[in-house]
Structure formats: structure tokens, C-alpha cells
């Protein structure tokens, strides 16, 4: 393998890793913001205060690894790298926005349910994790939708007139 090819691969893998870290970051950001605000305001640090950070970190880490592995594979194999990265950027934007906005909206709307939520710690963690999972699912849907839209002309062309389009997933695997 030539030095140039190795360098390109390193750049691609680095970009995929950076994307995975960004995905982790935007998922964990709301919990970190809440935690740092409370600590800065004078609430004593405790392991209990880290529960939301821990839930977000588990979800963010899992999703970050999935993103990293997928991007690393696709960016070396797929037919069209720009499609992969454009779809990934859209997904990250959706994830960043939804993982914070959905939490703010849901927690605000559930103002009347604080007592039951506070009484059972697991229900709060489940709510927090569920909302973030929803944001991740939405980001995935955005990624797939954008990728499908970008590859649809090629798929139609490959299928020929009157034929069924080639599934988008074939375009993730390369020639």
C-alpha cells in the first residue's frame, strides 16, 4: 500500500472517529450542561448527580461507535463518498438539535408529574434515556432519508427504464 493511500485511509478513519466523538458529545451535552450548572451554583457533587450523564454517556457512546464503524466502512467501500458524508452531516445536525430540544420540551411539559418522576428514580432515567433514544432514531431516519434521496437518481439509472430501483443499501456497500 502506497504512502498516499495509507494517508488517505488515515484521514478517512480520523474523520469517522471525529464524527463518532461529535455524536457522543451532542448526546451527552444536555446532561453535562445541567450538571455543570448545578455544581457551579453550589450543589455538592455526588454520584447521584451523575445519573443523567451516565445514561447519556452509555447511549452516546453506543451511537458514536455505530456511527464510527459505519462511516469507516462506507467511506472506504461505497460508490459515492460525498453522499455518505452529506447524509452524516444532516444526521448529526438533527441529533444535536433534537437531543437537547426534545428534552427541554418533554421535561417542561411534564412539570405536573414531578412527584411521581422524582419518587421513582428509574422512571426519570427511563424518560431521559427514552427521549434521547428518540432523538437518535430520528437522526438515523434523517441519515437514511437524505442518503436515499441522494442516491435515487443513480439507482433509477442502474435499474433502467420501467425496472424497480436498486435498494439504497446496495449503494452503501460499493461496487
Amino acid at each position: 500500500m502506497s504512502t498516499r493511500v495509507r494517508a488517505r485511509r488515515t484521514v478517512r478513519e480520523g474523520a469517522a472517529a471525529a464524527y463518532g466523538l461529535a455524536a457522543l458529545g451532542v448526546v451527552v451535552a444536555p446532561a453535562l450542561i445541567l450538571d455543570s450548572t448545578a455544581t457551579g451554583g453550589g450543589v455538592a457533587p455526588s454520584w447521584q448527580a451523575w445519573d443523567l450523564v451516565a445514561v447519556s454517556a452509555v447511549l452516546g457512546l453506543g451511537y458514536g461507535v455505530v456511527c464510527y464503524r459505519r462511516l469507516r466502512r462506507q467511506s472506504t467501500m461505497t460508490r459515492s463518498r460525498p453522499n455518505v458524508w452529506i447524509a452524516a452531516v444532516h444526521a448529526l445536525v438533527a441529533l444535536a438539535l433534537l437531543s437537547s430540544v426534545l428534552l427541554a420540551v418533554v421535561l417542561h411539559q411534564l412539570g405536573n408529574m414531578q412527584a411521581p418522576l422524582a419518587g421513582q428514580e428509574w422512571s426519570l432515567l427511563a424518560l431521559w434515556g427514552g427521549v434521547q433514544l428518540l432523538a437518535i432514531a430520528a437522526a438515523e431516519a434523517v441519515e437514511r432519508g437524505v442518503f436515499r434521496w441522494l442516491t435515487s437518481p443513480e439507482r433509477r439509472a442502474a435499474a433502467g427504464h420501467g425496472g424497480r430501483p436498486v435498494p439504497a443499501r446496495h449503494y452503501r456497500r460499493g461496487p
Binding site: 450548572t37 450543589v43 452529506i86 438539535l97 437537547s100 428534552l103 427541554a104 412539570g111 405536573n112 412527584a115
Partner: protein
């Protein structure tokens, strides 16, 4: 590498969306998350000795806190520290500086915003006296707002929208500072009442409690109209201390014509404060004020949820009192 029209459009939308999202998150959503206190807080599990305080004609200990109405983790942390403060130095009175309920109606949220966080203190028999805040009845000066305030007053056993109470050597004067009640066209009735009440007060200490601060270096700042309408009355009757909330921080002014003004609005939320030329102490922290009056000396301590001391000040009674 050349891009197709679709790729170009999608890439441009992605970059634009990223820039827009970054702006919205940094300017709106993340500040909102850090400003509000939306995550439910765990109920404090302390059991406090009932009626452990001692109030005599020349001694009183009380706590002052404002803007507690979230029911969230930060509000519960402040309430828990207040309960611990009671354990160490019992008090029989909380002067609440307004905004006891955010995010809904007090009838629906009384347990969340008050009974749950302050349960140990309520169980111990501590009285709560409320100065009405702008969020205590969200709808501006309407029947619905008045109804909401009436409900709050009923739930807390507060006698009226503005009233006077005496505890040991201190006369407290609680005002409804929500506009236009105190600073608007209808101000005269309440200000006349305050003028008369202060004139007839014979206690050694006079403390005025209201939600909107006459002086503040916080986010909302000094309340318009206070300087012209309220402060002359306070100065004429040599009030010792004015306690307020509204800005979600702590601030104590230097004595201004003999009056010390304290903002103690860090009961649940946080906003920044920039000390000004009249500031003696200020901090953007969650906090409450623990006040001990002993004869001619009043000592206030601003305490964070972790027990840290933010500020300590001492006032001496006015000459002749």
C-alpha cells in the same frame, strides 16, 4: 471531485442547518437548560425536630428565600440545605420572596413546588410568609391571576396580598410588587398602607419583603418606578433591611441612606449578576439567607446548597430603637 445538483443542494442545506442549529443551541436551548431547573428533584428525607426554635421579644431567627417554584433538583437542593440549616440553628419562619410556582398553576403543583421540597420544614411547624411574585399568577392582572394569587395565599395561610407581621423584635412588611400593583397607576393604595404601617411600627427592626428588587445588578436589574415611589417611603421610616427576589442570584448592597437591600432569588434557578458600584457582595449561586436577630444586632448569612458561605453581614439597629 464534482458534485451533482442534489449533492450540492444537500451539502449546502447541511452546512446551513449546522450553522443554524449551532446558533439555536448556543443562544437558546443550552442557556434555557442551564437557566431553568427542569429535572425533578428527589424528596428530602430529613425528619426535623418540631418547633425547635426560640423566639423572644429580642431574638428571632428566620430564613429568606425566593424564586423556588420549579420543584426541580436545584430547588430541592436549596430546600434540603434549608432543612439542614434548621437542624443546626432552628428557625420558625421562612420569608418567601415570591415566585413560589413556575410551569403551571399552584393548585396543580403545590405538592411539587412546596410540600415535597419543604416537607421537612413544614412538618417541623415552620411558618411561611409570602411576598407575591410575578410568576404567582402568570396572567397579567386579570381575574385568573387574582384567583391564582388567592389560591396561593389560601394554601400558605397568608392573610392578604400585602400585609404586616411581627415576630420577636422584627416587624415584617410584605408587599405585592407585581405591576401595576405597586409601581403602576394603582400604586397609591398599597404605598399609603405601607406608609401608615411603617409609621405605626414600634418594633426595633423593620424589614420590608417584596419580589421585585428596588436595586439589583442582576439580569432584570432595578425595578422601574421603585426609586421614585417606594424608596422615599422606606427612607422616611428608616427601614433597616429590604429583602427581594426576582433576579436569580444573591446580591447585597452597601447601605443606601441607611437601608441594606438584599436580593435572595437563588432558590432554584440561576442567572448571572454583574456587581455594580452599590454592590457589597454578589454571586450567581443557588442560595438562601439565614438571618439571626439578637437585640440590636442582625446577622445575615447567605448559604449555598453545599453548605458554603457566600456572604456574611451584620447590621446594627438604628439609634433610638
Amino acid at each position: 471531485m464534482s458534485l451533482t445538483r442534489r449533492q450540492f443542494l444537500a451539502a449546502a442545506a447541511g452546512v446551513g442547518g449546522a450553522a443554524l442549529t449551532g446558533g439555536v443551541l448556543a443562544d437558546q436551548v443550552w442557556p434555557l437548560l442551564s437557566r431553568e431547573d427542569l429535572v425533578p428533584g428527589r424528596t428530602p428525607e430529613l425528619v426535623l425536630p418540631a418547633r425547635a426554635w426560640e423566639t423572644t421579644p429580642d431574638r428571632l431567627t428566620f430564613a429568606a428565600v425566593g424564586d423556588t417554584g420549579t420543584g426541580g433538583r436545584q430547588a430541592v437542593a436549596v430546600a434540603a440545605r434549608m432543612a439542614q440549616g434548621y437542624e443546626q440553628n432552628p428557625y420558625g419562619l421562612i420569608t418567601h420572596l415570591g415566585d413560589i410556582c413556575y410551569y403551571g398553576k399552584i393548585d396543580d403543583r403545590f405538592e411539587d413546588v412546596f410540600l415535597r421540597p419543604y416537607g421537612p420544614l413544614v412538618q417541623a411547624g415552620v411558618d411561611v410568609e409570602l411576598a407575591i411574585g410575578n410568576h404567582d399568577g402568570e396572567v397579567y392582572f386579570s381575574d385568573a391571576r387574582l384567583e391564582e394569587i388567592e389560591t396561593e395565599l389560601r394554601l400558605l395561610g397568608t392573610p392578604a396580598r400585602y400585609y404586616r407581621s411581627t415576630h420577636g423584635p422584627v416587624d415584617f412588611f410584605y408587599l405585592d410588587s407585581s405591576t401595576p400593583g405597586l409601581f403602576g397607576p394603582d400604586a397609591s393604595a398599597q404605598l399609603d398602607w405601607l406608609d401608615d404601617a411603617l409609621a405605626t411600627s414600634t418594633s426595633q427592626w423593620k424589614i420590608v419583603c417584596l419580589h421585585h428588587p428596588p436595586y439589583s445588578s442582576g439580569r432584570h436589574g432595578a425595578t422601574p418606578g421603585a426609586e421614585d415611589l417606594l424608596i422615599p417611603v422606606l427612607e422616611r421610616h428608616a427601614v433597616d433591611l429590604v429583602l427581594a427576589g426576582h433576579d436569580h442570584n444573591y446580591e447585597r448592597t452597601i447601605p443606601l441612606d441607611g437601608i441594606t437591600y438584599v436580593v435572595s432569588g437563588g432558590g432554584a434557578k440561576l442567572t448571572p449578576v454583574r456587581p455594580s458600584r452599590i454592590t457589597a457582595a454578589a454571586a450567581s449561586v443557588l442560595q438562601y439567607l439565614h438571618v439571626e436577630v439578637d437585640g440590636d444586632r442582625l446577622t445575615g448569612r447567605c448559604i449555598r446548597p453545599d453548605g458554603g458561605l457566600v456572604d456574611r453581614f451584620t447590621l446594627r439597629a438604628r439609634e433610638g430603637r
